[in-house]
Every structure is written in structure tokens, then in C-alpha cells.
């Protein structure tokens, strides 16, 4: 029994370590993990062959990055005390903002639990501010999205996006909590404040290592099954963008200050899972999108339409419109600032 557990643990650990080591090697050797196909490569091919070539190109380079990202996402969700962090976040103090921003990347919750956690934070009396900060920062900055963004778009743009998204989320959460409708909404849950963190009927069981590793890998696999089909469909679309989208249009509208505004506008309402947004961003970058516009594009995540609708059912449209407009402004501002910092728009 004990020996069996040890063997199982060793096999699963070896699997995870394999991805970590391979990934480290790839980074040290600056081996590229993104598709190399250019518009010229793709354009000459028959229409049906374009997505296949692009996908194959992607998988050849990307399997390692995706395998690493999904394994690590599983390990994080299993081995980091997420429930403890959530409690801290719902403490209703100013520090909750910081906790929400800094710890959000470790939450790899599937999208169907984002909104429940958000409403749970509200019920628990965390206040609309930290709850909103969490809602805005978690989908854009989770570890899965971060790893893929770094690999596909480079660490500079990725870090700029993470930092800007974090700052924007805090500012927006804080601002909304000060608006009349934000206060009004918050007052409904005021009676709940102070409850969380008290003794609760929660005593988690301790599980042996092999069960926990298995649970981690299972969750990684679940995330992969959940995300990859849409991701590959997205890549098919990306392959056509890469092949046929006129470079002149990208050059004209996705560079310079105007480009930042256009990218922020496009990045938002377009409902795309983060990974597809990253892949599509890469295709546009290949076609000439400027770095500033890329950051604005990535920051457009929080105000896509389906998410906004489900949130507005909980908090009302006024709060959603407020944070939507503010996210847009933040996306434009971050794009402009990044453009100035790197010296090219």
C-alpha cells in the first residue's frame, strides 16, 4: 500500500519535473515556442491547408509550453492554499486589494467559478472594491495566461500587461466602491462584514501525496480539455488572419496613438478566451501591430460582452458600465505609456 503510493507519486512527479526541466532548457537555449509561419508561407497554400499547416507549426513549438502551463496550473491549484487566500481577500480591509492583485495569478479557476467567487466575496462582506479587483485581474493574470503570454508575445509585453492590469484593477475597484451606486450596492451586504475569517465549519482533510498529485494533474487535464478545443478553433481563425489580413490595414490602424485606441476597442467586446487573444495578438504583431497597441489589446479582456452580462445580473448595469468605461481608459492609457517607454508606438 505505502510502496504503491510512493511509486505513483514518483511517476507523477517525474512527469511534472519533465515539463519544468524541458521548459527551463527551452528558455535558456532561447528556443522559440511560437509558430514561425509568415504570411508569405501561408498565402501560397490551398485554403484548407492553411489552418493545418499553422496548427502543426503551433503544436510543434507549443506543446511544451502548453504542457508546462497546464501542469503548473494544476499544481498551483492543488498545493497553494487558495481557500486561505480567499479568506484573506474577503477580510474587508484595504489590504484585500493588494491580496486580490498579487495572488490572483495563482487562481486558475475555470471561468464558471469566477463569477461565483466574485459573488461569494460580496456576500462575505469583502466589499465591492476588492471583489471587482479580483474579477478584473484573475482572468487576465492567471498563471496559465501568464506563461502563454510570456512565451508567445515575449516577457516585456507580458510583464507590462500584468503590471498594468493589476494597477488598473485596483484603481477601478477602488473608484467603483466610491461611486454612489457602488456604495449603495455595498450597503446591502454591510451586515455580513466581519464574518469571514472567523471560525467556520471548515476542516479540510489531509490527503496523501499521490492523491494530491493525481488531483493536480487531473485538474490540469480538465483545464486542457476545457480550453484547448476553443484554442485550436481560435488558431484556425488566427491562421487566416495571418495569411490574408492586409498588412496595410494593420500598419494604418494598429500603430501609433490611434492604434492603441483601436486595439483597446477591438480587444474588449470580442469575446475571446485569453489564450486565443494572445494567439491572435501574435498574428497581428507579425503583421505589424505596435507594442503599445499590443498591450492595449491584451488589457481589453475585462469588458467582453458575455462576462459583463453575467456580472451585471449580480451588481447591476451601472457598476458594469462604470468599470467597462474605466477598463477601456486604462487599456488606452497603458498602451500609450508602454509605447512611450519602449520608444515606438
Amino acid at each position: 500500500m505505502e510502496a504503491g503510493r510512493a511509486v505513483k507519486s514518483a511517476i507523477m512527479l517525474a512527469f511534472i519535473i519533465f515539463f519544468v526541466v524541458m521548459m527551463a532548457r527551452a528558455i535558456i537555449g532561447s528556443y522559440t515556442l511560437t509558430p514561425q509561419s509568415t504570411a508569405e508561407d501561408l498565402r501560397g497554400l490551398p485554403l484548407w491547408e492553411i489552418p493545418l499547416v499553422y496548427l502543426w507549426d503551433y503544436i510543434q513549438h507549443g506543446w511544451l509550453c502548453l504542457g508546462f502551463a497546464f501542469s503548473i496550473a494544476g499544481v498551483f491549484s492543488e498545493f497553494l492554499p487558495q481557500s486561505f487566500m480567499l479568506r484573506y481577500m474577503s477580510s474587508g480591509r484595504r489590504v484585500s486589494y493588494l491580496v486580490a492583485t498579487v495572488l490572483a495569478p495563482v487562481f486558475c479557476v475555470c471561468s464558471c467559478t469566477m463569477v461565483p467567487i466574485f459573488s461569494g466575496l460580496l456576500y462575505a462582506g469583502a466589499g465591492i472594491g476588492p471583489a471587482l479587483t479580483f474579477l478584473l485581474v484573475a482572468p487576465a493574470n492567471n498563471i496559465l495566461a501568464d506563461i502563454v503570454t510570456i512565451q508567445v508575445l515575449g516577457w516585456r509585453v507580458a510583464i507590462a500587461d500584468m503590471v498594468a492590469a493589476g494597477i488598473a484593477a485596483i484603481a477601478i475597484g477602488y473608484f467603483v466602491s466610491k461611486t454612489p451606486w457602488g456604495r449603495e450596492f455595498e450597503s446591502r451586504f454591510a451586515g455580513n462584514r466581519g464574518n469571514p475569517g472567523q471560525a467556520r465549519a471548515v476542516e479540510l482533510v489531509e490527503q496523501p501525496l499521490d492523491e494530491r498529485l493525481w488531483s493536480a494533474l487531473k485538474f490540469g487535464g480538465y483545464l486542457a480539455r476545457q480550453i484547448l478545443p476553443a484554442f485550436f478553433v481560435g488558431l484556425v481563425a488566427v491562421s487566416y488572419v495571418q495569411a490574408f489580413f492586409p498588412e496595410e490595414l494593420v500598419r494604418a490602424y494598429l500603430t501609433g496613438p490611434l492604434g492603441v485606441v483601436v486595439a483597446a476597442l477591438l480587444g474588449g467586446p470580442l469575446y475571446t478566451p485569453t489564450l486565443i487573444e494572445v494567439a491572435l495578438g501574435k498574428a497581428l504583431v507579425n503583421l505589424g501591430m505596435s507594442p503599445g497597441a499590443t498591450v492595449a489589446w491584451l488589457m481589453g479582456q475585462p469588458y467582453d460582452i458575455p462576462n459583463s452580462l453575467s456580472t451585471s445580473r449580480i451588481v447591476g448595469w451601472r457598476i458594469v458600465v462604470t468599470y467597462g468605461v474605466m477598463s477601456f481608459i486604462a487599456a488606452v492609457a497603458s498602451g500609450l505609456i508602454y509605447g512611450v517607454l519602449v520608444g515606438t508606438f
Binding site: L86, R87, L121, Y123, A124, R200, A201, E203, L204, Q207
Partner: protein, 89 residues
């Protein structure tokens, strides 16, 4: 004969993982049922006021046995739920 109560805390409408957690809890309940232990399996909504006031903020899916959350933020295998239930007997 002892009676046990299992509450599966998930989102409403249920997502795949919450459904899976409920199924696994029911499998474990059925195994104990064969031995004559009565196990009641109930679903709770993670974001209802009642759930939050009882357990605080939990990550879904979560499994509570006799009113105490034992598993949070993951789908337990039937064997894991069964082991927790047996400890309660």
C-alpha cells in the same frame, strides 16, 4: 444505524466539475448504502447567502460531511469521499 449527511457545494447551474463531484459523492454514498449506512447527498449553491454564512467563502466544488467542509476546490474521487465518510462512522 448511523445517518450521514453529505453536502456538495457547487455553482448553479452546475459546471462539469461540480457535477462530477456530486456524482462521486453519490457513488461513495451508494457503497456505504450497501452496508446499511444511510447517506444523504444534498446540493448547495456556493454563492447563496446561506452557504456563505455557514462556511464562509468556499472554492467550488466543495464537499461537506455532517456540516463540516472537508474538500474544497477540487473533485474528490469516490474513494476519497468514502474514506472521509467511514471516518465519521
Amino acid at each position: 444505524m448511523r445517518k450521514l449527511k453529505v453536502e456538495v457545494i457547487g455553482v448553479n447551474p452546475p459546471c462539469r466539475r461540480c457535477k462530477q463531484a456530486e456524482d462521486n459523492a453519490r457513488k461513495a454514498a451508494a457503497r456505504l448504502g450497501e452496508e446499511g449506512v444511510e447517506v444523504e447527498v444534498i446540493k448547495l449553491d456556493v454563492s447563496s447567502g446561506e452557504t456563505v454564512s455557514r462556511f464562509g467563502l468556499v472554492m467550488s466544488p466543495a464537499v461537506a460531511v455532517n456540516g463540516v467542509v472537508r474538500i474544497m476546490g477540487k473533485v474528490p474521487d469516490p474513494g476519497v469521499v468514502e474514506r472521509i465518510l467511514r471516518k465519521e462512522l
